[in-house]
Subunit: 453 residues, 2 copies
């Protein structure tokens, strides 16, 4: 298929055309247009469509394209589609799928459907599926494919070359061949480019790279991704606890993990799921998001209760009520800047026991520095706006205190959460806001009560 | 070098050891320990260290490791280090660097130092550097390397194989050889694995894949990354406007772009720079972050001014002052959930003219649904806590109104910003908060004024 690089708009235009045919109800035309789209584009179209349109598009797509398209879909959308497919159609669609994709699809099925799909598969696929499902989700085992090419150490490169020529096509992203013993133990690897440049009369065991270790099948996928990034790998072997070669992981699957992991923090900080589907039905989305709103309502009520402690002075001076939101809001912003940096730093492995103290010191210093600047400014604004120097001084003090608290909480909250194995990206923001709200209100209204009443 | 996979803690332990030697001032020992660390780990150590420690580590590292380490560093940290290096040392460090990394380093230099470094380079490197710098930042041209292997169409595969064997080692991540005409025009490519499996007596022109187009040198790096993800490429050719082959892009550089792009939104939403260095000096960090705090102070003041319009009723009833923060806060949370999803959807190319209206409808429906739930709940809480049914009803109405506003603004604000070519991740949050603050306060205090005064 011709790759349309020079004309990016061309691809967008084709997608637009399908959408138009669909909205006009011209399904025959839409079917033909869909037939001409690569699987990747159909997947994009499905992910960009509301639930009803998704069901229609899926019915218009050629059944023998189903497998390729399913492979390209994100988890949420994939799930919503396979739940509507008949088991035997699903079994047909998964035929010839990469092992890792196959496991991914099967994991999304309810137990009963899963059994039916398994029954509809041929012997070989069923075996492959059962094996793939034996590894835990989000591990090296669940990412791997079994399409490795293996060599014995005691043959010559010439034999290998003839074997490959006989074989015809090699699996995609094959940059290395793996050398295994008679017991299938992984003992080394040879790069494809090395095969081309080395003297063909040499033995595999002479030429292979023995300093490589396989990836244990139970390694976490995020760790696998880090190794790939660090070593600039294109593929890597996966082994079991006895060092037996099980399969290989390729860079294209790793890229997905890297993008997902990087997005994870952003979504978590808004209380959203990694696989949150922008076009999910209203009810599904509302239910998910309400949890987060509930948590935040408790925070807001807590802040209101703190304000409530100062009801007397608020009743005396409306100006305090008006200014009461400024200091908590600035603290929340400053704190979330620190929090975001610390969460990213943790993900990159930059923050450890050796530099935590330095980091707290630094963030406190930034809080102090910015505290002084914005305290002076807000004091000036209030003094001019409300003609009240004392209240200006009070809000300046509160600002200073809260920006210091924000810096401290911004570093310590995620560190403490991590110690308790709680995801700082998910819970950090709420706790931080609670801290900056409470400190901000206490510092402002408390000082005001002391000095003004 | 042995890749220590099985023992992840081993790597961490070694890093810990260096840190300990450094803090104890045992520099001879630290130098030896650093010497045994791979470049990637030294880079990690530098990125995890405060400015002073960075300078010390850099002096302890072998000078001939400098180049490899610089390549692994993030932009900010790299800049802070090369600014302190003497031009001739820098020239030595960049010797043999990949073209894209070389351009990256040189771009970070002040004009005068840059000229001096250029002078200290040998002829070949200088030429390479000048060529690499001729492409704009963040384009395919600035990402590419010039280490391509090119073939003529009219030779046999056998000749190619003999040529490669003569050449010895091939550049890393070489999965394809490129076929060019006598005028250096790109006409096709052959996968390395294909070379191994095809009949050696055939001509390159018979075997090559002609349906591939090169990537134009001025294509944006984010577009390049999308193409790689979409096509599962490991490398791809880069061409100029006359279709002449300039070089190639490899997946390891693309992975960096994918991670950076995915992190970009998260950092922007907190008003942080993409290259924000967690361990930068206090002054640098404070200066950068204060801009964002300033913008948010304006938002907070705006909210205070809106409250100020209702000074009369606030003076009469302190309870309104206490509850005044709840509705804006919930609106901010709901709005930022929608905003986050829309920003991600835009980055993935899911949101276009065809589904915007559906999305606004959906988010309004979610706002209504969650609005009802949390309106009823907050009404009940207020009715019980403050024994005031009417104020419960007022806050319920304001909650409803603000969650609808949040849903609407969460979709429309980023869409409008994008139309004006403003980064929604950077500016979206501030504008959204302003909307939910203003609507929240107006709805609550305004209704209270109408009904209670």
């Amino acid at each position: 298929m011709l790759v349309e690089i020079a004309d990016k708009e061309f691809a967008e235009q084709r997608l637009q055309e399908v959408t138009e045919s669909l909205t006009r109800g011209m399904y025959v035309q839409a079917r033909r247009q869909l037939h001409n789209l690569p699987a990747w584009d159909v997947a994009l179209l499905l992910e960009s469509s509301p639930p009803k349109a998704r069901a229609i598009i899926w019915q218009l797509v050629d059944a023998d394209e189903h497998g390729d398209i399913l492979e390209e879909l994100s988890e949420e959308v994939q799930k919503s589609i396979i739940r509507q497919m008949a088991p035997e159609k699903l079994a047909a669609a998964t035929e010839g799928m990469d092992t890792d994709d196959l496991a991914y699809v099967l994991r999304g099925l309810p137990e009963q459907v899963y059994q039916e799909v398994l029954k509809s598969m041929d012997e070989q696929d069923r075996h492959r599926a059962e094996q793939a499902l034996s590894y835990a989700e989000e591990t090296a085992g669940s990412m791997m494919n079994t399409d490795t090419i293996t060599l014995r150490p005691d043959v010559t490169i010439d034999v290998v070359l003839r074997y490959l020529r006989l074989k015809g096509e090699l699996p995609e992203a094959t940059d290395k061949l793996y050398v295994v013993s008679r017991e299938d133990k992984f003992i080394g690897e040879i790069g494809i480019t090395r095969l081309l440049t080395v003297d063909p009369s040499r033995l595999v065991s002479d030429v292979m790279d023995q300093e490589v270790q396989g990836i244990p099948a139970d390694m976490d996928e995020t760790e696998v991704a880090k190794l790939f990034e660090r070593q600039d790998w294109i593929s890597a072997p996966v082994i079991d606890e006895d060092n037996r070669l099980l399969g290989r992981i390729t860079i294209d699957d790793v890229v997905d993990i890297i993008r997902e992991d990087a997005q994870h923090s952003m979504l978590s900080m808004a209380g959203l799921d990694d696989d949150e589907d922008t076009f999910a039905p209203v009810w599904t989305s509302a239910k998910r998001r309400s949890v987060w709103l509930g948590v935040n309502l408790i925070t807001a009520l807590l802040a209101a209760m703190v304000s409530s402690l100062f009801e007397d002075i608020l009743a005396q001076m409306a100006i305090l009520a008006i200014l009461n939101t400024i200091v908590p809001s600035m603290g929340g912003i400053a704190g979330s800047q620190t929090l975001t940096l610390v969460i990213r730093g943790m993900a990159l492995g930059h923050i450890g026991a050796s530099n935590q103290r330095w980091l707290i010191g630094k963030e406190l210093a930034i809080g102090a520095l910015n505290g002084v600047i914005w305290a002076l400014l807000i004091a000036a604004v209030v003094a001019i706006w409300k003609q009240d120097l004392l209240i200006g001084a009070i809000i300046a003090f509160a600002m200073m205190a809260n920006l210091l608290a924000a810096g401290l909480a911004g570093v310590t909250v995620p560190l403490i959460l991590k110690k308790f194995d709680i995801d700082p990206a998910l819970a950090g923001g709420v706790i931080l806001t609670t801290v900056t709200d409470v400190v901000g209100i206490f510092a402002f209204l408390g000082t005001a009560t002391l000095l003004l009443s």
